[in-house]
């Protein structure tokens, strides 16, 4: 084709744009930062997120060092120790007495060690059940939304059914039939949580599948599986991450509830739920340390995950950024002279999509 004036213009335009982008990148390798990485950068500049992460790390540390604590103090989390764990009148020690930092319970077990062991169960159940629920809910939500028709009708009604089911009752029945155990607890929690994720994913899939990029994928010959998991899924990852983070505290509380009711993991394994249950019956009055410490642990964990979830949501949806401008640190991602310019591009490039 003959050279038209447009060609020149096109070349100049392209070159122009390159230069400005290059300047922005300041000599870095030319690589677009993914929306998730941008969100992570925003998350790192959020003070609340750091606080939340600190709370979670604290509980995780407690869980990790539980056996060490037990070994160092010589206090078993399981076995009653009326000789060393109670005073000469058979009364439990209060916090700080006789080398028990958080005191002992009414059979002389170290509450610190038991809270630490309880953290293992809580975090394990919370994270694992959420993971199962998230993966299951995402897959079923995608399938339901993408295929539509009777598959959708079936799955959507299933989600409604699960969400409207009295889960505590169901858990009690299941525990009565099969006996309480860790896998059962995780299974029950996952089963009653997936629908929340599934519903959101289904709704998002319904809107995403009408986008032109899905049509484009079909026109190049992509199959349904590829369209669902390679094309649509990355566009749903933001709400899934937010919801997943917010499901963890729900699962932790759920687990504590089941254990409190005696249909969870069950004794002798110490969990925050059964510690609360154990302590309310016998020597509750006056011995505030029985219930305060497990409750505080529960509070820190759920608060940590909830705050983190909120921060993650803010980070993934940059439009809310202005609202919380004051809680962000002034220095953006790594600092440096180009930091503010890059913060601008962050907003520009992430702003239209994430929600």
């Amino acid at each position: 084709m003959s050279l038209s004036p447009f060609d020149v213009g096109s070349a100049a335009l392209v070159a122009d744009e390159d230069q400005s982008l290059e300047a922005l990148d300041a000599g870095r390798a030319i690589e677009g930062r993914s929306p998730l990485r941008l969100a992570f950068a925003r998350l790192r500049s959020d003070r609340i997120a750091w606080l939340a992460a600190g709370m979670i790390v604290l509980m995780a540390l407690l869980a990790v060092v539980a056996p060490v604590l037990s070994a160092l103090t010589g206090h078993s989390p399981y076995n009653p120790d009326l000789v060393n764990g109670t005073d000469s009148f058979g009364q439990p020690y209060g916090p700080g007495q006789a080398g028990f930092l958080l005191g002992t319970d009414n059979v002389g077990r170290d509450i610190l060690v038991r809270v630490a062991y309880g953290a293992r169960i809580s975090l394990l159940v919370g994270v694992l059940a959420t993971l199962l629920a998230t993966v299951g809910g995402t897959i079923l939500g995608l399938v339901s939304g993408y295929y539509g028709g009777w598959i959708d009708a079936l799955l959507a009604r299933m989600m409604d059914a699960v969400l409207s089911f009295p889960y505590v009752l169901a858990a009690i029945v299941l525990a009565a039939v099969f006996g309480g155990s860790l896998p059962l607890t995780i299974g029950v929690i996952a089963f009653f949580s997936w629908a929340a994720i599934g519903r959101i994913v289904r709704g998002q899939t319904l809107s995403q599948k009408e986008k032109e990029y899905v049509e484009a994928a079909r026109s190049i010959g992509a199959g349904s599986f590829r369209i669902m998991f390679v094309d649509i899924l990355p566009n749903l990852i933001a709400p899934v991450i937010v919801l997943g983070t917010l499901l963890v505290p729900v699962a932790v509380v759920f687990e504590a509830t089941l254990d409190y009711l005696g249909v969870g993991v069950g004794p002798p394994t110490p969990t925050w739920g059964n510690m609360l249950a154990d302590d309310q019956g016998s020597a509750g009055f006056g011995a505030w340390w029985f219930w305060v410490f497990p409750s505080v642990a529960l509070l820190i964990t759920t608060l940590g995950f909830n705050l983190l979830g909120d921060s993650v949501r803010d980070a993934l949806d940059p439009r809310t950024e202005r609202l919380f401008a004051n809680r962000r640190k002034k220095v953006v991602v790594g600092g440096g002279p180009d930091a503010s310019a890059r913060a601008d591009t962050d907003r520009l490039s992430g702003g239209t999509e994430a929600r």
Binding site: G9, L13, G32, Y213, I220
Partner: protein
């Protein structure tokens, strides 16, 4: 379904097409393509209460190496037709024959080899690129899906494609949001080009772009056509663009082709009143001509495709309509005095040089009379 994949049998009702050697055979043939969208109501039983007649019996041929322009107002079924050609929509009836093979009823698996040869460029450069995927993987997707290239080889081919369409190959790892509208459309072109197709259906590829960028993309498409021997079906509502790129032009109105001819012929002497009105409404970049040109103003809106007018679908807005037009549908045929390739579906075509003065729907009065007397014409929508 194996018989569907075999070439059209010479003994079938298309002897002229199938008997032709591969070189002369049109690349794409549409035979009476119909696409209706059902309108359903109800929660459990979803009764069909109506249908949108988006495409209503379109037949055309696209020859190898040519650009067929497809014009018409918004909602006339252009994009639906494009999606019927590329089998993104299943047809209600009719046939799509690609390079001598009827692909209308092929399954997704059987269709795959034809997907390689038939690609599409989309209208919206923002919506048609997945915002969460890197440009490299968007352009490389066709190569991955069809197992053409992997790993480093795929990357090399993708970068080559990016260079061909005028993108910086080093931007391989960027996201679509980091590009401008024109650059994004280049990405869409590169993706369509990746499989080295013979046919590219361009669904308003420049409508969403800035005018200066439109020119760049059009020039790019023209360059690529020369370089790769591409055949285009080019959909647009901008007549200037269509005139510039097309070898032949088909004008659509309410799901039907009303006129089809070589570009110069169609723009020089339109025969269908709708074409004439369309042409008169387009802007002329010459003030002298613009002042002297007469503009035909059409009254009313395009009637609803759910309940289209009887007879000629244009009769409710046509300045030349007569009672016959609301009863009998004019066939698409060569009108007296026109060259062979110029087809017009009109009972009373515009004579060369004729001015459509009375642009008001000539039939509106007649229609009301007619409706009263003739059964079957009662579903009219008089706009």
């Amino acid at each position: 379904m194996s018989e569907a994949a075999t070439p059209v049998n010479p003994a079938s009702n298309e002897p002229t097409l199938a008997a032709a050697p591969a070189g002369d055979r049109p690349l794409l043939q549409l035979e009476n393509v119909v696409k209706h969208f059902p309108i359903r109501r109800g929660i459990f039983f979803k009764r069909q209460i109506g249908r949108v007649q988006a495409v209503e019996g379109v037949s055309l041929e696209v020859r190898r190496g040519e650009t067929l322009g497809l014009v018409g107002e918004t909602g006339c079924g252009k994009s639906t037709l494009a999606r019927c050609i590329t089998r993104l929509h299943p047809l209600t009836s009719g046939r799509v024959i690609f390079d001598g093979v009827d692909i209308t009823r092929l399954s997704a698996g059987q269709l795959r080899p034809y997907r390689r040869r038939m690609q599409m460029i989309f209208q919206d450069p923002f919506g048609s690129l997945n915002p969460r995927r890197r440009v490299g993987s968007i352009i490389g997707d066709p190569l991955a899906i069809h197992g053409i290239a992997d790993g480093g080889e795929r990357k090399r081919q993708v970068q080559e494609l990016m260079e061909v369409v005028g993108l910086n190959p080093e931007h391989y790892n960027r996201f679509p949001s980091e590009f401008s509208g024109g650059q994004r459309q280049r990405i869409g072109v590169a993706r369509a080009l990746a499989l080295r197709p013979s046919l590219i259906v361009c669904d308003e590829p420049v409508s969403a772009l800035d005018v200066s960028v439109q020119a760049q993309i059009i020039n790019l498409l023209e360059d690529l056509q020369g370089e790769f021997g591409l055949t285009y079906v080019f959909i647009a509502h901008d007549l200037a663009v269509v005139e510039h790129v097309s070898d032949r032009v088909a004008v659509m109105y309410l799901g039907k082709i009303v006129e089809m001819a070589d570009t110069a012929e169609l723009f020089g002497s339109p025969r269908h009143p709708y074409t004439a009105a369309l042409l008169s409404a387009s802007m002329v970049a010459d003030p002298e001509k613009a002042r002297s040109s007469h503009r035909v103003v059409l009254y009313g809106d395009v009637p609803s495709p759910i309940n289209p007018p009887s007879g000629c679908r244009f009769h409710t807005r046509c300045p030349k309509a007569q009672p016959l037009c609301s009863v009998e549908e004019p066939p698409l045929r060569v009108q007296a005095g026109d060259p062979g390739g110029h087809l017009t579906a009109c009972h009373f075509p515009v004579a060369p040089g004729e001015q459509l003065v009375g642009a008001e729907p000539a039939i509106s009065a007649a229609v009301t009379e007619f409706v009263a007397t003739s059964p079957g014409a009662g579903e009219e929508e008089t706009v």
